[in-house]
Symmetry: C2
Subunit: 411 residues, 2 copies
């Protein structure tokens, strides 16, 4: 670790990010769902940059783009994703891809550096078709049957149809080569306000929380909103409202200070103003880096459902529909990111967990993985107003490239 | 009122209702939204029956079918509707139309009876395109502009397109002829359990409650469900759940024993499991026959919204989107229905209000109007399991025709 930091072209980084924003721009953000023309153009933009970093590679059979370097020495994998949530921010995904590209341009072309950074854009991190399908495919965790069954959550279009329409049908899927990479590093906007509220510049991610998701269904009796007396109603929507309030009141007593939970979707059936809902459904998501906490909350949830069913008038059923184990980030990679922060943002870094899911949690199952966060203005995320100052983007790029250099040097 | 009751063919009534059920059958109910092929076939079925009752008439420019009789003497208008809610019951609408048809067949063909029953099927009582559009058109309360703007709530298809597709574009709309009718009588299933729970057969409707509807919007801040700490969230969906519970707790103290209120639709925006809802909306409907009660409840609602906005973290706004004045049923028509019940179901009738809206409330604005209810099994309504026993259907038919005879005789 005696060499001095390499020169990062921060203006080029910001120009690249703006070039990607111009593809599928929506207000100050972007709209590029998985396999949309704008997503595919963004991938094409990246593949045309590969030459600048001595990389080669093409889209695989699930929409991943992974560049490979012929350079000798250790290889570090780095990247993120290029598709976006609907009408969302410009940095969620592209930041990590462009940082990785910049690291590859700087380090791969430097003969004094042994080894290379290889750049990946993982497909569908945002979950239009599934859950982290691209990176999971790369580590061998996606079967053909899962792809057969996957459909766009909004349009219902099958993933197979989408792959055919963008010309990827029949291509092989890129798979991890055991031993090829010494690790994986991903940069991302924080998507929260922890860094900004403390005037910090770099988050050194210690772990990525697990995500557990539950479908909670309420069964009452559908009836006419005018003729059914209040006393005899079994209103599934009202039962749901009471349950939401009970979760809000009782979870804090069992959760850890960092646990978060969210009801993001509520559906009443049939959903007509003159009909008492006969059934209702809510999706509840719980995130924590500690499986013990999750287990306690799930037990509470199930006891609350039993209690509500017993008290009536509606029946409440809990179904766990997603289980995500927390992923620990590699200690040596954390140290490298922190040391790099010491050069470009002295005393401005913080070790923290990631409340959001990222491809790094998948790569962590097959190689040492780490993440670096830059601040989000106002903590806003998954919205087109999501933003980070150019100054913070530049600092993050310098820290990222320096961290890559240190990881390769430690080989 | 000296003549003896006329002979009603109750088997024909039940056969006719089953013939209508066979058009667009769904399980034991029906699915015939306004202007669907099954709705149009049902109207065609009715128009082909008109001859049996000496009636003539054709579909007008909004889908109403009103038969006219050339017979001299007083004319009583009677009917209901033939379209259904989605996947709903077989009697909601057709019962009143077939009773009216049977009354017309029996009374119009009887030379001893002075006057005639004229049969109407009002379009879109179920509100696929608007609110009681057919009967409101007949009383002159629908402008061309309202039709221009009307769209199918589910498909978004414009009413003009629908009218064109079913061949009604450009036809004149039938309008009430002042002085032509001495009144309007409509039979309907109760859609509640008041009659059944007391072993009664006939409801004599005293008034139809008014319906007030409110759009209540909650504005918070949309954010990432993993990275936003619980303490800083402004979750519009959670604010909505608390408001629903508050309505349930506070309305009973201000409402009358017969008031009903319902939240039939809830929408979270954007409605994704990993995003904290930035805004949310609920439709709250209140029904009562007393405008004073409604006024008190609306005042409470507005004060609750102010309170919630002041306490935060979300803003709550109330918008009144529907005002329906209660409609009183004509006293003489009530008396005629009760007297007819005395013949076929002695001591088995009850004077009661209608919690549901009906075309009779619209006709009541231009002529004396009345309604008769038959029991609903289990009080179930707006669902395909909605039903009434054949025996109760038969008793209702006899009472209905006898009531028509008495109203015509009183002229």
């Amino acid at each position: 670790m005696t060499a001095s930091p390499v020169a990062v072209n921060t203006q080029r980084v910001i120009a690249d990010l703006n070039a990607l924003r111009a593809i599928g721009a929506y207000k100050t953000g972007v709209h590029k769902p998985t396999f949309s023309p704008e997503h595919m153009q963004s991938l094409d933009w990246l593949s045309r940059r590969f030459g600048e970093a001595g990389l080669s590679g093409e889209l695989d059979g699930i929409g991943n783009l992974v560049g490979q370097s012929p350079k000798s020495g250790p290889k570090l994998l780095a990247g993120s994703h290029l598709e976006s949530q609907s009408h969302a921010g410009w940095l969620d995904g592209p930041l990590g891809v462009v940082y990785a590209l910049e690291a590859a341009r700087v380090l791969n072309n430097d003969p004094a550096i042994s080894g290379a950074v290889e750049v990946a854009a993982w497909c569908d991190e945002e979950g239009h078709f599934g859950s982290l399908m691209g990176s999971r495919s790369y580590v061998g965790a996606v079967t053909d049957e899962e792809i057969d069954a996957a459909r766009d959550r909004k349009s219902g279009r099958s993933m197979r149809d989408a792959l055919r329409e963008v010309g990827l049908e029949g291509r092989p899927r890129a798979m991890v080569e055991p031993g090829r990479h010494i690790g994986y590093l991903e940069a991302h906007i924080e998507q929260g306000d922890t860094l900004e509220s403390q005037g910090l510049k770099i988050g050194v991610v210690t772990s990525i929380v697990g995500i557990w998701q539950y479908r909670i269904t309420f069964t009452g009796v559908q009836n006419h909103a005018g003729t059914t007396r209040m006393a005899v109603r079994k209103d599934a929507g009202l039962a749901l409202a009471y349950f939401c309030v009970a979760v809000d009141e009782r979870f804090p007593k069992v959760a850890s200070p960092r646990t978060v939970w969210t009801t993001g979707r509520i559906t009443l059936d049939p959903g007509a103003p003159s009909i008492i809902p006969g059934s209702a459904e809510m999706l509840l998501q719980i995130r924590d880096a500690d499986v013990e906490v999750i287990a306690r909350l799930e037990a509470l949830l199930r006891s609350m459902a039993e209690e509500a069913s017993t008290n009536g008038p509606c029946q409440v059923a809990i179904e766990r529909i997603r289980v995500g184990a927390p992923a620990a980030m590699d200690g040596r990679i954390q140290d490298a990111v922190e040391a790099a922060s010491g050069v470009f943002a002295p005393s401005k870094s913080l070790r923290m967990q990631s409340g959001a899911g990222h491809d790094a949690q998948i790569l962590a199952t097959v190689m040492p993985a780490g993440m670096l966060f830059v601040p989000s203005i106002g903590g806003i995320s998954h919205h087109w107003t999501e933003n980070t100052s150019d100054e913070d983007i530049a600092i993050g790029a310098q820290v990222f490239v320096e961290a890559c250099r240190r990881i390769l040097a430690a080989g």
